[in-house]
């Protein structure tokens, strides 16, 4: 260990380092140890081993902070930080990656594109997410963002023989690059203002200026545009439905949950760090964006016939709800954001799991009609899908209710009554289209009698997602405490 790479640096970097090394090792092992297609599913076990080590190091982070009474530990001269916020979000990424890997092998075998690179890309994308959540330096955050994004571009286009997958990857790549351009422009103005890339220095230079200062506003506006692109909030949402529909369903699940959670971690770091002093400028902008996201997301979802597209629009509206927690901005609101991200992870993954199970040989199974009569041919899946839909709509006793409850509570506490009323009205709209799926499953006649694809990994994944969706709803206390530790001090 030298002065450039100290013990502390190593300790803080460990989860990201493990993910990177295991990811690179996956690429090596793939053609060296498991060249045969039927053994490729062993790589799922390998990925879970990687996540176990990562989880252990995250656990050590938590205990280290608690034992030493610290709130954060800074490493790499302020480039990387280990605090409750980064640990919380990294647990979310870890859970997402494990569930996605569990459901992927069967799906990829059916699609005929089961390659080891897929698992390597999951791990490397997750290490990008680590740098997004733990980075406190513009360059580190940006490199992490691009690491995650490039992995996702490849995964979205993973079905190379499928034109839709290629088209989705192309659209996602072009719009992703376009939005990164905005972000870099905003970052460069921030650097020009403060002469430093550390978030704390930039925060100080924002605080020293008038919030309506033109240069500060230019930095804020371009950065916010880039950030809103990444979380697919209206009016920067156009890429989401196309990318979600064309991507392999397992990747759509990863994209809609992992990438969104990471982008929210990034957004919170920027808004609560450098931009915290200009709250009076961005609060009205975010209120407008949140209301628009809920409006467009919910209304456009009504007329969709493709379930993946429907869930894409629903995820746009969920991004609007999560933004509301940031708009309220008190402790309840920020805790609400954390708990909403956690809840959204499991319920949205769960909904996609059922869509993945509908994909069988020669049956695409993505339309609402493909779900018709699911109750009669796969009652287990139908009941679980009902739980996920109830949760997405925000009905007690599921987890979705807890998420929405804290968001609404924080809006009330901070006096945003009109916003709260608008958000509550859109819940009613959301119930309509979620229950269209439910009606199709329980009321319609069976249109396609082929049994559902079920693998061991799928069963485990769906049980875990449903179990947690119910558990967070019925006994939220431990999860709320977890969210409490995630607040940025």
């Amino acid at each position: 260990m030298s002065q450039f790479y100290t013990q502390t640096d190593h300790f803080v970097l460990l989860p990201g380092l493990l993910l990177t090394l295991f990811g690179c090792a996956t690429l090596l092992f793939d053609f060296w140890l498991v060249p045969e297609a039927r053994y490729k599913k062993l790589l799922v076990g390998w990925l879970i081993a990687a996540e176990a080590f990562t989880g252990a190091s995250l656990y050590r982070h938590t205990t280290y902070l608690a034992d030493n009474g610290l709130t954060e530990l800074v490493a790499f001269r302020g480039s990387l930080v280990m605090d409750g916020f980064s640990i919380f979000f990294n647990w979310v990424f870890l859970a997402t990656a494990v569930i996605v890997a569990l459901i992927s092998y069967r799906y990829l075998e059916i699609e005929g594109e089961h390659h080891g690179e897929y698992y390597g890309l999951i791990l490397l994308a997750q290490s990008g997410m680590f740098f997004l959540a733990a980075g406190t330096d513009l360059v580190t955050i940006f490199v992490g963002l691009e690491l995650m994004a490039i992995s996702f571009y490849v995964m979205v286009g993973f079905l190379r023989a499928d034109r839709r997958s290629n088209e989705a990857a192309m659209k996602y790549l072009l719009l992703g690059a376009f939005s990164s351009g905005f972000l870099v422009y905003g970052f460069s103005v921030m650097y020009g203002m403060s002469g430093s890339t550390r978030l704390s220095d930039i925060a100080a230079s924002f605080a020293a200026r008038d919030p309506w200062d033109p240069i500060a506003f230019l930095a804020l506006a371009t950065t916010v545009v880039g950030l809103l692109f990444k979380i697919s909030a209206v009016p920067f949402h156009m890429w989401a439905p196309d990318a979600y529909e064309g991507a392999p369903t397992t990747v759509t699940a990863f994209l809609s949950v992992g990438s969104k959670a990471a982008s929210f971690a990034f957004l919170m770091r920027i808004f609560l760090g450098p931009l915290a002093a200009s709250r009076e400028v961005w609060e009205p902008i975010l209120i407008g964006v949140a209301i628009l996201s809920m409006t467009v997301g919910n209304l456009a979802a009504i007329s969709q016939t493709n379930v993946k597209r429907l869930l894409a629009y629903s995820s746009i509206s969920h991004a609007g709800y999560i933004l509301l927690g940031l708009i309220a901005g008190n402790d309840t609101g920020l805790k609400g954001v954390a708990i909403y991200v956690l809840v959204y992870t499991f319920m949205n993954l769960g909904a996609f799991l059922v869509i993945v199970a509908l994909r069988r040989e020669n049956i695409i199974g993505e339309d609402v009609e493909d779900l018709a009569g699911l109750m009669h041919r796969g009652p287990g899946y139908a009941i679980l899908m009902l739980i996920f839909m109830l949760s997405l709509a925000g009905i007690p006793p599921t987890a979705g209710f807890i998420g929405k409850y804290y968001i609404f509570l924080s809006l009330m506490q901070t006096g945003h009554y009109l916003v709260a009323v608008a958000a509550a009205l859109y819940v009613a709209v959301a119930i309509y289209y979620y229950f269209r799926i439910v009606r199709s499953m329980f009321v319609s006649d069976v249109s396609e009698p082929t049994p559902l694809a079920a693998s061991l990994g799928m069963r485990v994944a769906v049980a875990v997602s449903a179990g947690l969706t119910l558990a967070i709803g019925l006994y939220p206390e431990p999860f709320l405490q977890m969210a409490q530790t995630s607040l940025i001090r």
């Binding site: 450039f4 790479y5 970097l13 990177t20 690179c24 690429l27 790499f76 001269r77 480039s79 990387l80 390659h115 690179e117 390597g120 890309l121 490397l124 290490s127 740098f131 330096d137 360059v139 580190t140 940006f142 490199v143 992490g144 691009e146 690491l147 490039i150 992995s151 571009y153 490849v154 286009g157 993973f158 190379r160 990857a169 020009g192 203002m193 403060s194 002469g195 200026r209 200062d213 033109p214 240069i215 506003f217 230019l218």
Partner: protein, 168 residues
């Protein structure tokens, strides 16, 4: 004075080359205009007395990347693409939007010119040793992003192989 003349010359090269790069019909011409644009950026580095960055710009971008672009253009048959319509019909709306955003940015820069005070450079600015200082910063302050960037390139390579090869 001389600095200003050089600055505007290089800036014009950068922007003009960029515009011509995206509007030319022939892909080879686009690549050549990209060289002009990159050369303009290199000139701007030189003006800031960052000789190392200028050299890297010339060797890596102009010498390496654009030449690779040209190889790819030669390997891929683009005659068919050149005959097709390359711009969609919404260019007028696009132009309007760009003009609007451009006017906004111009206004902000104009109105904020007084407040844009760059912090004074730390210590004395030495004109020599630029390369050494860059290396110092890169391997101390920015060690982590520098290393992660190599990971980024690895993912890009793996990704392009996955996307392009028929059989993996």
């Amino acid at each position: 004075m001389l600095d200003a003349i050089f600055f505007y010359t290089f800036a014009a090269l950068t922007l003009g080359g960029g515009v011509l790069c995206i509007t030319r019909r022939n892909a080879v011409h686009s690549a050549m205009w990209l060289v002009v644009s990159l050369l303009g950026v290199g000139g701007l580095y030189l003006l800031q007395r960052a000789e190392f960055l200028f050299a890297v710009q010339a060797v890596v971008y102009i010498g390496g990347i654009v030449v690779l672009f040209l190889f790819v253009i030669m390997l891929v048959n683009l005659d068919e693409a050149a005959r097709q319509r390359q711009f969609n019909r919404q260019w007028l709306i696009g132009l309007g939007a760009v003009a609007l955003v451009g006017a906004e940015v111009f206004y902000f820069l104009k109105a904020g010119a007084d407040t844009l005070k760059l912090p004074p450079p730390a210590g004395s600015v030495s004109t020599d040793g630029n390369t050494e200082r860059l290396a110092d910063v890169l391997f101390s302050e920015y060690l982590l992003p520098f290393e992660v960037a190599s990971l980024l390139l690895l993912v890009a390579i793996v990704g392009s192989v996955v996307m392009a090869k028929r059989r993996i």
